[in-house]
Amino acid sequence: MKKIVTVLLFASGLFTLPLQAADLRWSGFGSIVLGKTIDDEPLPGGTNSTYKPDAAAPNVDGAYYDNNWSMKPDTLFGIQVDIDLNDKLSLTSQLVSKGANDYDTEIEWLYAGYELSPKLVINFGKQRLPLYNYSDFQDVGFAYHWTRPPLEVYGEELSSYEGISTLYVDSFGDWDYDAQVYWGNSTTDGTPLGDVNLKDLFGAVLTFTNEELKYRVSAHRAEVWTDGDTGLATLVDEDSPSKAAFYSGGVFYDTGEWLVGSEVTYMDAGLIQADTDGGTFVSRKTWMVTAAYRFNDFLPHITFSEREIELAKDGTEAVLTPTLGAALAAIASEPLDGAKQISQTINLGVRWDFHPQAAIKLDYIRRADKSDDVIVDSAGKTLKIDVLSIGMDFIF
């Protein structure tokens, strides 16, 4: 089979290079993960905390780990097709089916790329939002060492946009760099905030790499509003969207033996700033530091991550988890201004590369709730939880 594919690729791609034969390549990825929470702090009502590894998934039971073993929250399968229509024009589509979304298949990407020059490509269509170093391949577990990138930093509900992007790739001295600029719009339905709409989403990403080091910085802005039955929707709507900004910076060092990396983000959600009452808003700071060392086929690793959300007095409860939001709504008289919701996670894990295209991963995460008392007293430690998971990631 492999041979046939190779022959076909050559028949279309190489010998007939000047001709217009479409060169088609399939690739795919997947993760099959079993996990459960093994310790958590019960909430004031006596219920157990749960853990949702994929923030972009809808709020259905299958998206959460609880104290029963479950295979849904992290399990997924994706397939990608790259078609070269000629030597300048290509099509890319990626379909992903997630257990956390009841295995519904969704088109994550669908875009056409045109090579303006050997260094400059322009893409039109539905593409991944390049917020972080890991966002482009966040679904592809095989491409990184954890079962999932740390939720504190990468637990983003928005994953794609429809629009235009350009990618410029060049080098100077020993360094290679690429610059990506994009513009578009995005709608994500069914998040805890309601349906989140981003208009005039605009951003730039700059990446520098040499043999062992990678630096990445990005900046993004958008006009945001929400629809749906949440408190927030009444504060920012289509007629009075708020301006949000997001920044990230990362450094990654990979010698093949050692892998050390860190990424930091800051979001000025600006959600309520545009509102006439003058003023309250949510900001979010996140960071993670990770280190791994390879012993032959095994890669043990350790990661610390933290997320700090700063609250303001009006309406921000809707931004929090539903449980917490409800609890906060009930104590609206408390002075929430400046209160912080903080979670920290330690992830200990090991990746075993037992096959060139597949890896087994064991991850133990301990998430701690370091939120200010005003939040914890009323809602309990909603973020405190330990989760164990074992899974296999593969590509083809």
């Binding site: 190779t6 190489l14 790329g113 482009d136 095989f142 093949g256 095994f298 064991l362």
Partner: protein, 145 residues
């Protein structure tokens, strides 16, 4: 108690990680091009071409790199010595590029003979073989000294 067992399982996996092994290598690798293509490449240029960062010969037309399959000992040596990356890094590198839509890996063939034939036929193509397999159907575009 259950937590304890789960923790123990975890520690065991950690200990497994302590196992070690080593790699071996084959003959000297040279980068080849078509006899009519008198290009002379630097190591950095070879790296950029085979990692999809450079799509033209320096100052010239398009370049088509041809790789050997992943289990080939020549491929492993080429990756280690010329690209300065082990096969796991190579695999992770392409996984990231493919699934970010930023690039596709070079086409692969299964043998040195096949590779040499393709390079001998196409002035845009480059590949790598061991020095002992050189003949006058191809020329050396880069040799690591």
């Amino acid at each position: 108690m259950k937590n304890f067992i789960e923790c123990k399982l975890f520690c065991l996996m950690f200990l497994f990680s302590m196992l070690l092994a080593s790699n071996s290598s084959v003959a000297d690798i040279v980068i080849i091009s078509h006899p009519d293509n008198n290009v002379s490449l630097s190591k950095k240029e070879v790296q950029r071409i085979f990692l999809g960062k450079l799509k033209t010969f320096p100052g010239k037309g398009p370049v088509i790199p041809i790789d050997l399959s992943k289990d080939s000992s020549h491929r492993i040596e080429f990756s280690n010595d010329i690209l300065n990356k082990n096969m796991r890094q190579i695999s992770a590198y392409w996984t990231r590029l493919i699934f970010t839509g930023k690039g596709l890996p070079p086409k692969q063939v299964d043998s040195i003979e096949e590779l040499k034939k393709l390079v001998a036929r196409n002035p845009d193509a480059i590949g790598y073989i061991d020095k002992d397999s050189l003949d006058d159907t191809v020329r050396v575009a880069f040799e690591d000294k």
